[in-house]
Symmetry: C2
Subunit: 308 residues, 2 copies
């Protein structure tokens, strides 16, 4: 193979060598290939239907803005489908404000429908405050639970029937490995590319870029001229996820394809765990009425303790 | 808690702080505690019976010589039990010869029954030669398969009905994580603390120190005045296991108890995979007749290709 030539079009120069497939890609074919792969992921996992109203969770980072761009292209072919960006302001001073400005500009320049909700409006507390008051868990643990709820509430508000989140391959693989490290293996069976309740008690959740490595999502954003927030969240350094991220990146460099192999391993484990563990019964939270597996949902557990 | 005082006897000074339990231990109580824990592991997994003849696989390193020492103390209480050390000479110049001298001295000074077998005698090839001729897999992959067979043959030769190997907590946790990284999740269900064939087509295999962290096994060896080989195997650097080892060690320092948590996760995954995957059918290898899951066993696959 001539690495200077794109393996797809055989015409243009390759600007990127994809080690795990041993191919080179030119700018044009790279972008097209990423979009095709997302399309394949959506169809393989039956993520979307032609008349879906999709709420895309957008933080203003490379992953979510790339997802929004790709879904925009894909849904254009389906006249009955709709797309709305939903953005959550967690209340992280000096960080989230910048991301929201970037996201808003993105929406306005491209005439994308959007809604912005904030922790402060929904839960009467900012993340910065919550982190000061509660220290049992990492900031990411609190934020993850509340942000998920906020996205759901925003999606319901705009009338969407599906929530799309921008979890990439690296996120999914890190999460699976962390579940094992944390001893929470049953969670592996619940973290999947598409999650739907047959009784429709919660909105369908899909992860269309879950098979694209983080590095390639970032490249897609650059290649598409998307402006995105580059500063990492100030709370990120405190998380164990960082260790896992760097370990997996080192392995991927030494053994290209490792992340995909772990992703497939996780799928096999998920099948086994689902058969073994059976269905988790969904109840309604005694405080807010939202679906939960326990008596009180995680959101209410966090908020009851934070607000006197 | 006063960290200068042993948490067990409350008399002697603690020389070691066990972070994952938040306790301090004196020299005497540390040794006793390790032996008690091995006894508990043996009883929990029903590893040994009072009249077993146990072949202990001894390399000459800290793990196997500690295992031999602890099993010596445990089996002393059972007059009908027997213990024989079996040592394999893989044929690694400048490395294994030293280990064998150390092991032999250990046996002779303590009047322990032993048998030594070699790859050269059993398979007509040394590991050094094999590694030169075959390069598809890592040296550790070839060595692992052949050494396991060699230990079995030695154990049968001395008339043992059980094989005890010195896999410690770190080994087991690394192996489980590597199986996921390699995409070989069904293997998790086969790597367990005790492995027994109801039809007795192979010897029972037990891992009595699988719940003791590597660091504590090393400390036990030092505390017991055991002389052991300290040089690592010259082929070790080529293995992916090294990456996993250092990642897990970093995590354990930051979050004491991580290795135990992963060990428990593995147990849950194993139960799920066993129920899901069902039983693996054992056949007999068409070349050597030994039990195998495929038509030709791994040993014959390696040897057929290596020797013209």
């Amino acid at each position: 193979m001539n690495l200077l030539e794109c393996s797809f079009c055989r015409k243009n120069k390759a600007f990127y060598v994809r080690s795990y497939e041993g191919i080179g890609l030119c700018h044009r074919c790279f972008k097209k290939n990423i979009e095709d792969r997302v399309r394949r992921t959506i169809s393989k996992y039956k993520m979307l239907k032609p008349n879906d109203h999709v709420a895309v969770a957008v933080s203003g980072g490379k992953d979510s803005l790339s997802l929004l761009t790709i879904l925009g292209k894909i849904t254009k072919r389906f006249p009955k489908s709709r797309l709305t960006a939903v953005t959550v302001d967690e209340g992280i001073t000096g960080y989230r404000d910048e991301a929201i400005t970037i996201a808003k500009n993105h929406y306005k320049n491209r005439s994308i429908n959007y809604a912005i909700v904030s922790f402060e409006d929904l839960f009467q507390i900012k993340l910065d405050q919550l982190v000061k008051e509660k220290r049992e868990l990492s900031p990411c643990s609190y934020c993850g639970v509340l942000r998920r709820r906020a996205i759901n509430l925003a999606a319901e508000k705009v009338g969407a029937n599906v929530v799309a989140t921008a979890h990439n391959l690296d996120d999914e693989v890190q999460t699976a490995m962390l579940n094992i490290v944390h001893g929470d293996v049953t969670r592996i069976s619940r973290v999947e590319p598409v999650l739907e309740d047959p009784n429709r008690r919660f909105l369908r959740r899909v992860k269309p870029i879950c098979e694209i490595p983080e590095k390639e999502v970032a490249m897609y954003a650059y290649e598409s001229g998307i402006e995105f927030q580059k500063v990492p969240c100030p709370y990120m350094a405190t998380s164990l996820r960082n260790d896992m991220r760097s370990m997996l990146n080192r392995m991927e460099v030494k053994h290209p394809g490792t992340k995909y192999t772990i992703f497939r391993s996780t799928e096999k484990l998920r099948s086994a765990l689902k058969q073994y563990g059976g269905k988790t019964e969904l109840k309604n939270c005694r405080y807010c009425g939202e679906p939960t597996t326990t008596d009180t949902c995680q959101v209410c557990k966090i908020l009851k303790k934070a607000i006197p």
